[in-house]
């Protein structure tokens, strides 16, 4: 009995350290330098690793979904948060591309927008967006997102207890469908156009991101040729594969 406890605990902690808690890796996409700086800080303060890029194309390149990609094997992204209104490729178009990819379709995508337009929100949710946040983004928005997507310490401890009780062979990925379904984040100050929160179908409950298993090959960071002017630099921060 003790042996199976140790085994299940080890399996569990491998999963948590790879996919949850401090190693949550978020790709943030926003053409505004100010907003990128703020969202990056918001995410870091909630213990996420952040890679911030300034366009949908850059995001796709980073993910390896575009020609001239720098995507590398074993890239682990746990969440993508993107602005809706961007020149070139909109957040909506980016969302569709991500949901259309085999490697990243399971990654939760959150849309941010300064415009609180119900039709826009619906369209994004229908296309598979996990959530829609009205800008300006607040700390409470990010905390909420992180909590319901990746759980907090308490939830992990409970899950650990549960998995210890089950046999090793039954250890599966945590099932977050048991948690309350995430409310769509619409800030109070601009909620005039909404009467009820859009419905989220059950497919938005959280399968853990089906990112490829982490390889330990060290890959070169983004090639310098992708760096443009200082004001629109591709920000590659905390690029660690673990």
């Amino acid at each position: 009995m003790a042996r199976s406890d140790v085994f299940s605990r080890k399996r569990w902690s491998e999963k948590t350290s790879n996919n949850f808690g401090h190693d949550v890796h978020v790709l943030a996409v926003d053409d505004s330098l100010i907003d990128r700086k703020v969202i990056e800080r918001l995410l870091k303060i909630t213990s996420c690793k952040v890679t911030a890029v300034d366009s949908g194309i850059r995001a796709l390149q980073y993910l390896g979904l575009e020609k001239n990609s720098v995507g590398f094997d074993g890239l682990k992204i746990d969440m993508i948060i993107t602005d809706y209104c961007m020149p070139g490729m909109t957040g909506y178009e980016l969302l569709k591309k991500i949901k259309g990819s085999s490697t990243f379709r399971e990654v939760p995508v959150v849309i941010m927008s300064s415009e609180n337009v119900l039709a826009r929100i619906d369209r994004c949710l229908e296309e598979g967006a996990e959530d829609f946040i009205v800008k300006p983004v607040k700390l409470s928005d990010v905390k909420r997102l992180k909590d319901y997507m990746f759980g907090d310490e308490k939830q992990e401890t409970n899950k650990r207890k549960l998995s210890e009780m089950s046999s090793e062979s039954d250890i599966t990925e945590p099932d977050y469908s048991a948690s309350p379904s995430p409310p769509t984040s619409i800030s109070e100050s601009s909620a005039e156009s909404l009467s009820s929160s859009p419905s989220l179908d059950s497919s938005t409950t959280l399968s853990s991101p089906a990112s490829p298993h982490l390889s330990t090959t060290s890959s070169p960071p983004c090639s310098p040729s992708l760096l443009t002017s200082p004001t629109r630099r591709l920000k590659m921060t905390n690029l660690e594969l673990d």
Binding site: S32, L33, I34, D35, K37, V38, R41, L42, I45, C85, S114, K135, P136, K138, L139
Partner: protein
């Protein structure tokens, strides 16, 4: 001036900016994101805002001054300005942008010119106030004190 006095002055000044509607809750958010590991976060973000805004105001002046005004372009600039001012909590600037956009939609050049003027004034005002605020902060730090947070 001793630290306590400087801190009180800072708090009073900050409160007045909120009371006048120059700043809103989003500015508080930024302040909450500042800590020992990121002690200059607010100044950094606001500096980016100043840079961005000055360029936008320049571009807007040029765009509005054209023979044939490209309202789509003007609207795009104002949209960007609205976004950035909203992100730092510069409420009156943001409101000026909202008004501006409605006139862009109407393609009303006269009104847009007035809006641009208004926008410049609001921006200039909040810039001055924020710079004053940062100066007060610096005085506190130089006097060896910690920057107090308004309890909200």
């Amino acid at each position: 001036m001793e630290v306590g006095q400087l801190q009180r002055r800072f708090l009073e000044y900050t409160a007045s900016l909120f009371n006048q509607g120059l700043l809103d809750a989003q500015f508080q958010q930024l302040q909450q994101l500042q800590d020992e590991s990121n002690p200059d976060f607010v100044v950094e973000v606001v500096s980016l805002f100043f840079e961005d805004s000055e360029k936008l105001l320049n571009d807007l002046t040029i765009a509005i001054g054209q023979q044939t005004v490209d309202f789509k372009k003007v609207d795009a600039y104002v949209h960007q300005f609205k976004g950035s001012s909203s992100s730092i909590g510069a409420q009156r600037v943001r409101n000026a942008c909202i008004a501006f956009r409605s006139f862009c939609e109407e393609q009303n050049t006269e009104a847009c010119m007035r809006c641009l003027l208004q926008l410049k004034q609001e921006y200039s005002l909040v810039k001055d106030k924020l710079q004053d605020l940062f100066r007060l902060e610096q005085q506190i730090v130089e006097a060896g004190g910690a920057i107090p947070m308004l309890e909200y």
